[in-house]
């Protein structure tokens, strides 16, 4: 039970980041690696507020805004113009990789490479139904569940959410109906920035942060998106929880050293036997754009 709960909680932050990646990847097919830069940069804002004795709630707000702004700028100045030039997936990927390197190196130049922490002292623990969880784990589980529920209800019930789903389904047709797909794309990147910054802050509060950690977290999220199926918004979250569970089981039964190997083994199995993911539509890969 304890391991199960730990797995679900660590899965929650993976799922949140996976949702962030999917909210760009599904509508635009941009492989948004620069999101790892957002993930790496956001905790530093809160950390600066903490160092100067400013209120931490303002720090969190500014960090989330910074995440949104950074991801927004990626689309405004890079992927948007690239898309207008009819660039393919590979070019978007390479350019996003370049952006990620730039962001992370700037962060590392400004604040150094060492691991930093957001909270002082050891975490207090509480026992719920016989399961021991730390306070920051509880916070992570609660905040990410609320954020995911909020995202899904927005997606399901609002008019803008409907347009967003339409963009993920068929961007050309949506544009033909007279909707402004450029604005929706900007919205997708902003949402991704928000969710990634949130996931990053929760992780940083729990285990600390350094500039290089973003890529590893994002790669896990991308694995979750592919396992979950790349044409549904629900799949990545389910796969995120699944990855969290599998990784804690591996850490418990084998050793934490083999977590990545097992994760990627799982990815390879899915790609070969279930390439459309858990919830993906059944179609041949070649048939998809």
């Amino acid at each position: 039970m304890q391991i199960l709960i730990n797995g679900l909680i660590s899965g929650a932050t993976i799922a949140l980041l996976a949702l962030a990646f999917a909210s760009v990847y599904l509508p635009t097919r941009v492989f948004h690696i620069a999101l790892a830069g957002v993930f790496a940069g956001a905790p530093y804002v809160v950390w600066i507020f903490g160092q100067n004795g400013w209120p931490w709630s303002a720090g969190v707000a500014v960090a989330l805004l910074a995440g949104i702004a950074l991801s927004f700028a990626c689309e405004l100045f890079n992927h948007g113009p690239l898309d207008r030039k009819k660039a393919g997936q590979g070019l978007h990927l390479v350019s996003s990789l370049g952006l990620y390197i730039v962001i992370v190196q700037i962060v590392a130049l400004a604040w150094g490479n060492e691991v930093k922490v957001l909270r002082q002292g050891i975490d207090s623990i509480c026992t719920l139904f016989g399961v021991v969880v730390t306070r920051s784990q509880l916070l992570a589980a609660l905040v990410s569940s609320v954020a995911m529920l909020g995202f899904y209800s927005w997606l399901r019930f609002s008019n803008l959410g409907l347009q967003f789903r339409a963009l993920a389904d068929n961007p050309t047709q949506l544009a033909l109906f007279g909707y402004n797909t450029r604005r929706l794309r900007l919205l997708a990147f902003a949402l991704a920035g928000l969710l990634a910054a949130l996931s990053s802050l929760l992780t940083a509060f729990d285990v600390g942060f350094d500039p290089q950690g973003g890529l590893h977290a994002l790669i896990l999220a991308i694995v979750a998106v592919i396992i979950g199926g790349r044409d549904t918004f629900l799949g990545p979250v389910i796969a995120g929880f699944l990855l969290g569970l599998v990784r804690t089981q591996v850490a418990w039964h084998l050793s934490a050293r083999w977590q990545d190997a097992v994760t990627f083994g799982l990815l390879v199995m899915f790609l070969f036997f279930l390439p459309n993911g858990l919830l993906g539509r059944k179609a041949r890969l070649e048939a998809q754009a």
Binding site: F31, N78, P81, L82, A87, G88, Q89, G90, L91, H92, L93, V94, S95, L97, G98, L99, Y100, I101, V102, Q105, I106, A108, L109, N113, L215, I219, I222, V223, I226, S255, R257, W258, D260, A261, T263, F264, G265, L267, V268, L271, F272, P275, L285
Partner: protein, 299 residues
């Protein structure tokens, strides 16, 4: 003079890597993030073969190439079915698995090179002997520079001949329109497997030279950052022809040397070097998708 030799050796290493990676990126049109993994496979095999089996330079090199050829199936067989983002993720998976093995295949109790401790884990393998050919040892930096230059020229020659042969033309045809090439009765799967075999085994050559020069190898050589750096090197230089990767390898070497002239502290210079790479990659994708001197426009 030693400084010049040192630069020459690293230029040769990067040149071999860039030319071999060009076969995959520029001639197959597939982005791979696993190339540093094959570099590490070559380095580790060379280290173990010389230390444990007592092989000379060329037999150990050959063994490394052989292992890399076998492991190349891990990326070439998926290339039958996957393109684009899926293929990138698969190569990333291969890269991570190789890194995991280098990092974790060890136990502190067992001796190096035994079944339970093959790679010595995060400590790495040290004390790898300098290259020895037919009993004569290449111990000085100048002789290693000469050896690496000979090998780099040889690799360059092989690739030069290959890409100008009908085989190279077929590779380009499959890159541009696989269906059309197959309708002409060409075996696209076989050609892809061959291209990956050659590219991965040449990466292993570079790994073996590196390992014999530095006499030390540790898992970070197989890290994802190295693969990203290699990929950006060939993409900035340009792919799809011979001079693009050469220029890419030269730039990769030139940037840190230029930064040295600016007299920056080492820790800052390392970051600025990577920063320059990221910036070049973004600019390249935006304004010159074929790289500085390449022929194939990335899509």
């Amino acid at each position: 003079m030693n400084y010049f030799f040192h630069l020459l050796i690293f230029f040769n290493l990067y040149l071999i890597l860039a030319l071999s990676l060009n076969l995959i990126v520029g001639y197959c049109g597939l982005l791979t993030l696993a190339h540093a993994g094959y570099f590490a496979v070559g380095a580790y095999t060379y280290a173990l073969a010389t230390l444990k089996l007592g092989l000379g330079f060329f037999p150990a090199l050959g063994l490394g190439m052989g292992v890399a050829v076998i492991l190349s199936f891990a990326v070439s067989l998926p290339a039958w079915r996957f393109r684009g983002d899926f293929f990138v993720m698969l190569t990333l998976a291969v890269q991570t698995l190789i890194f995991s093995l280098c990092q974790n295949w060890f136990s502190p109790q067992a001796e190096l090179g035994t079944w339970s401790n093959l790679t010595n884990g995060p400590l790495g393998i040290s004390g790898v002997p300098k290259p020895a050919i037919l009993g004569s040892s290449f111990a000085t930096i100048g002789s290693i520079a000469g050896l690496s230059s000979v090998l780099a020229v040889l690799v360059g020659l092989i690739i030069w001949i290959l890409v100008r042969s009908p085989w190279g033309r077929l590779l380009r045809a499959i890159r541009d329109d696989e269906l059309a090439a197959r309708s002409l009765g060409k075996n696209s799967r076989l050609v892809k497997v061959q291209a990956f075999m050659i590219a991965c085994s040449l990466a292993a050559v570079s790994g073996a030279i590196y390992c014999s020069y530095v006499t030390y190898i540790e898992p970070s050589a197989a890290s994802i950052d190295e693969s990203i750096l290699l990929l950006s090197m060939v993409l900035v230089g340009g792919v799809g022809n011979f001079r693009g990767p050469v220029i890419g390898a030269f730039i990769l070497l030139a940037i840190p040397e230029l930064l040295r002239l600016a007299q920056l502290p080492d820790s800052t210079a390392a970051h600025i070097r990577l920063l320059a790479y990221g910036g070049l990659l973004v600019l390249m994708a935006r304004f010159r998708p074929q790289g500085l001197a390449g022929e194939y426009r990335l899509e």
